[in-house]
Amino acid sequence: MNTPTTKETSLRTAVREFPSNVWSSIFRHPLPSNDLERSQTSFTNFFLHLHPVKVHRNTLRPIYTMGLGLMSLFLFLILVVTGILLMFYYVPSTTQAYDRMLDLRGTVAFGLFLRNMHRWSAHGMVALVFLHMCRVFFTGAYKKPREFNWVLGVVLLLVTLFLSFTGYLLPWDQLAFWAITVGTSIAGYAPLVGGQIKFLLLGDTTVGQEALLRFYVLHVAVLPAVMVLLVAVHFWRIRKDGGLSRPETASAKADAGVVQIRIEPGKRTFGLQGFVRGPFTKIGNVPDDTVYSWPHLLVAELFVFVLTVSVILLVSLAFHAPLEQPVNVMHPPNPAKAPWYFLGLQEMVSYSAFWGGIGVPTVMVVLLFLTPYIDRGQKGVGRWFARERLLANTIFLSLVILNVIFIIIGTFFRGPNWTFVSPF
């Protein structure tokens, strides 16, 4: 193939090699059969160069990461694809939006199914991003040098919540209207600028066409753009921070006769790039516990992808996305309930609008942002529920349980006029 030739290529050779030379111009390397080619897959393919050439064996343990972050990413991709398709039939108008929902259900081919997929993926993404955060906390994976990636993760959680909030407003059913009404009223309780924020969000003094248009633009353009950018930085930093945090293994300790090379945390890079640029070469000196990304990491990712897509397809076949009555600005549904993940917030709001809607959530978010800068011990990283992190894990777990309790109360124990009812 690569033999240098002095004579002109004849037309006959050009014809004979035609399809394969197109293929080799696109994919510079054939399917890998040795380690050099395995590293070249990650190097020379645009879509694979996000991956390191080699990954540590321990980061591939399913029980360690549970693939939660990756599942969130795949759900986001499903949301982008189904969302763009839904945009072809949706009109952000208070008079048309609801009719378009009925059209999706009744006349558009696969319309109902696409809406189901979009809605259930959104619910799944909120849940999985939250669980991913819990995983990172309970394994201490936000410790130095990964503090800032945790902060980015908290921002991504907030963007996910805001995307889902702006999303369920768009059908312009009863849930949508009263969720905007309540949501922007909560924003109005913010000190000093609350009224201004509310007016900017609604684009008007009352909830109507302007508000729908604003939330639509936020949902389909602004927030996804922010999300894509931050996800890219989030992934980039995984590698710059030295790969995923990982459980230690006994075998990683060097043999007595081997010269140890100091490896600074955070500067450890693998493969050719590290060889060229990094100050530390570890070839042959440190016991190597890494495997090639191709095929080990890629197969794991493919498995998570197939799992995620299959679950969403099955759920969308079995359950229909909720759609309430068309908007009636005179009569809020009684009780007017948000989707499950906001019911904890709604329960808190029913005690005090300011403390439940602004005060407590702000304190929680600030605490989340500061977590890696407060909890700075380096012990117990890479292990689930490490004994050394008992205090931090207990505090975090209590807050998670508290949130779940509030969600359960809001979901099952609240009836008309938000009075306490028993579901039994």
Partner: protein, 163 residues
């Protein structure tokens, strides 16, 4: 090492010029940063509509005779409750001060279906999470003999308009 020596030399020979260079750099940074701030502010101005399309906050509700003494009618579209007590009239908001739901008229005053706030006949909070009483709006008599409610001007609760 040679680099450091060189730079020190430059600093020494060009002692008089460096502050000017630094000043220019400083000024241009201020300029760039200032433009960024201005851009953000102009965005905020852009997002704040100067004209809104919602119905006017001042609207006529009909002649005083349309409301016999003892009337309590909720005008759902306008979100006000028109009260007539003898020859005194008032317009009380029916938007819950908690989170903006519409309160309905109950036996004891007003009740909110969303989070269970209760108000008495004058809109004073009697229970639930509502932080403030229901506001009262200014009622006036227009030249054409119709009553007019202005939702932009809130008045002290208990201030009636005498017809």
């Amino acid at each position: 090492m040679p680099l450091a020596v060189e730079s020190r030399k430059v600093k020494a020979t060009a002692e008089g010029q460096m502050p000017r260079r630094r000043l220019l750099a400083w000024l241009s940074s201020v300029g760039l940063f200032g433009s960024a701030v201005l851009a953000v502010i102009s965005d905020l101005v852009f997002f704040k509509p100067r004209v809104t399309y919602s119905p006017s906050a001042r609207f006529g509700i009909g002649k005083p005779d349309d409301f016999p003494p003892g009337t309590r009618i909720a005008r759902e579209v306008d979100r006000v409750c028109i009260v007539r007590d003898g020859n005194r009239m008032a317009a009380i908001s029916t938007t819950c001060t908690h989170l903006g739901c519409i309160v309905s008229i109950s036996d004891t005053g007003f009740a909110c279906p969303c989070h269970g706030s209760h108000y008495d006949q004058d809109g004073t909070v009697t229970g639930g999470p509502a932080p403030k009483p229901l506001p009262w709006f200014k009622v006036s008599l227009a030249p054409n003999g119709e009553l007019e409610v202005d939702k932009n001007s809130q008045i002290e609760p208990g201030t009636y308009f005498t017809v």
